[in-house]
């Protein structure tokens, strides 16, 4: 998957990111909460077969930081 395809998949799975682009600051999103973090962890498990922790996701500042957690894109 290309980076733009990864972003599209992430937006499809995590409702809080539905309208986001890579530069979007997560803290500025009204739905960026513990449920959204849970959905990101689940997305990585289903799509990338990769375990990420809640702490790793919470440490991300932008959507680009989340994409950078994918080994092939970092």
């Amino acid at each position: 998957m290309t980076r733009s395809e990864q972003l599209a998949a992430l937006r499809g799975d995590v409702d809080a990111l539905a309208q986001a682009d890579e530069a979007t600051v997560l803290a500025a999103l009204p739905q960026w909460d513990s449920l959204a973090i849970l959905l990101v962890v689940s997305h990585f498990e289903h799509v990338h077969k990769q375990a990420v922790s809640g702490a790793q996701v919470r440490a991300c500042r932008t959507v680009a930081d989340i994409l950078n957690l994918i080994p092939s894109l970092s």
């Binding site: 739905q31 973090i37 849970l38 962890v41 498990e45 375990a51 990420v52 809640g54």
Partner: protein
């Protein structure tokens, strides 16, 4: 740790819940939450309502009621019980343990030992393993396993990430020694490096008392040192990391595959987690009871027996079923089991007080 134990059976199960019905959306609106956000959470996680205990009712009361009803249903006298194990993290007192209090309340034989296991959501499986050990190797013919909590007493109503999840319940399970050779298989484990992912910091010997100043997190959730605090994302990561492997391992020992097992009965954490675990382990949603949490909430160690009753009563009464199960949670810890269960005597899920 793997363990396979023979010559025993689950003979009966009962669950008593709290009697106060709490509605997730209504409670959230009363707490000032946004309706759209509540509906989003309700849909994603599978929350609708839960049942909590009235003031003064404890896990001991709930389990005692479940036990009395189960013994009546089975036509058994309490003096026929050779041991009682009580799984809880919300005991009546620091000392004595709940099992001893229940022993006295029910009038059990003085030759019957009574001890607690301090475990949460994985605790019913660990308690079942203990009861099975006592029947298989410990000289007991009939063991009473009680498992339950009143976690709603520990959460902060201002913590919208944790408080709406939990219901209060107590279960009673009777395990008996038999001549049956079909074994029950167990895989038990723990990862104490994750112990702080679910924690109540104050109230034990390390931090017995102190101020209960509330802390507000970045999402506006309020907690203090006496509250149950849970890092949901880390618990979810732990669950995905450890539980599928435990389920696959216990199925290998039992010689089961998902297609030949009748049911996957998991700790009823929430529908989102259960659906994810079913997919990861190759079970269908039809094989995997998931509806307990939307009716009763997350009932800690009582949730697996509640799922057995709520979703499988008719099939278990006719039994046997090839059941695979797993509890997982505080510790962090997990316990998986696999084996034939049934025919089983079941007392229905009822609230206390009635």
């Amino acid at each position: 740790m793997h363990s396979s134990l023979s010559n025993l059976r689950l003979a009966g199960v009962a669950v008593t819940t709290g009697s106060v019905v709490r509605d997730f959306i209504a409670d959230g609106l009363a707490a000032g939450a946004d309706r759209a956000a509540l509906e989003r959470t309700a849909k994603t996680i599978g929350l609708r309502e839960r049942r909590v205990a009235t003031p003064g009712i404890t896990a001991l009361d709930l389990c005692a009621d479940a036990t009395t009803r189960l013994l009546n249903e089975m036509g058994l006298d309490a003096t026929s019980i050779d041991a009682v194990i009580f799984v809880t993290q919300t005991p009546d007192h620091a000392q004595p343990n709940n099992a001893s209090l229940l022993h006295g309340r029910l009038g059990l034989s003085k030759s019957a030992p009574a001890y607690d296991l301090s475990m949460g959501c994985s605790g019913w499986v660990t308690g079942l393993h203990q009861a099975a050990l006592l029947c298989a190797h410990g000289g007991a013919a009939r063991v009473l396993l009680c498992a339950g909590d009143t976690l709603s007493r520990l959460t902060n109503p201002g913590d919208r990430s944790t408080d709406p999840l939990f219901g209060d319940a107590g279960s009673a399970t009777i395990v008996e020694k038999t001549g049956r050779s079909s074994p029950l298989h167990f895989v038990l484990g723990a990862d104490g490096t994750g112990a702080e992912a679910i924690i109540v910091k104050q109230g034990g010997a390390r931090q017995p008392t102190g101020t209960l100043d509330e802390h507000t997190d970045t999402e506006g959730n309020r907690t203090h040192a006496g509250n149950l605090v849970m890092n949901g994302a880390d618990v979810f990561s732990f669950t995905l990391r450890e539980v599928p492997g435990a389920i696959e391992s216990v199925m290998r020992h039992a010689g089961y595959i998902p297609a030949t097992a009748d049911a996957l009965v998991l700790h009823q954490a929430n529908r989102f987690i259960l659906s994810t675990l079913a997919k990861k382990t190759g079970f269908t949603e039809a094989q995997t009871p998931m509806s307990v949490v939307e009716h009763f909430g997350n009932q800690s160690s009582a949730s697996i027996p509640c799922a057995l009753i709520h979703c499988l009563t008719e099939r278990l009464e006719a039994g046997p079923l090839k059941v695979v199960g797993c509890g997982f949670g505080v510790g962090l810890s997990w316990g998986a089991f696999a084996g034939e269960i049934g025919p089983l005597t079941i007392a229905p899920i009822l609230p206390l007080p009635r």
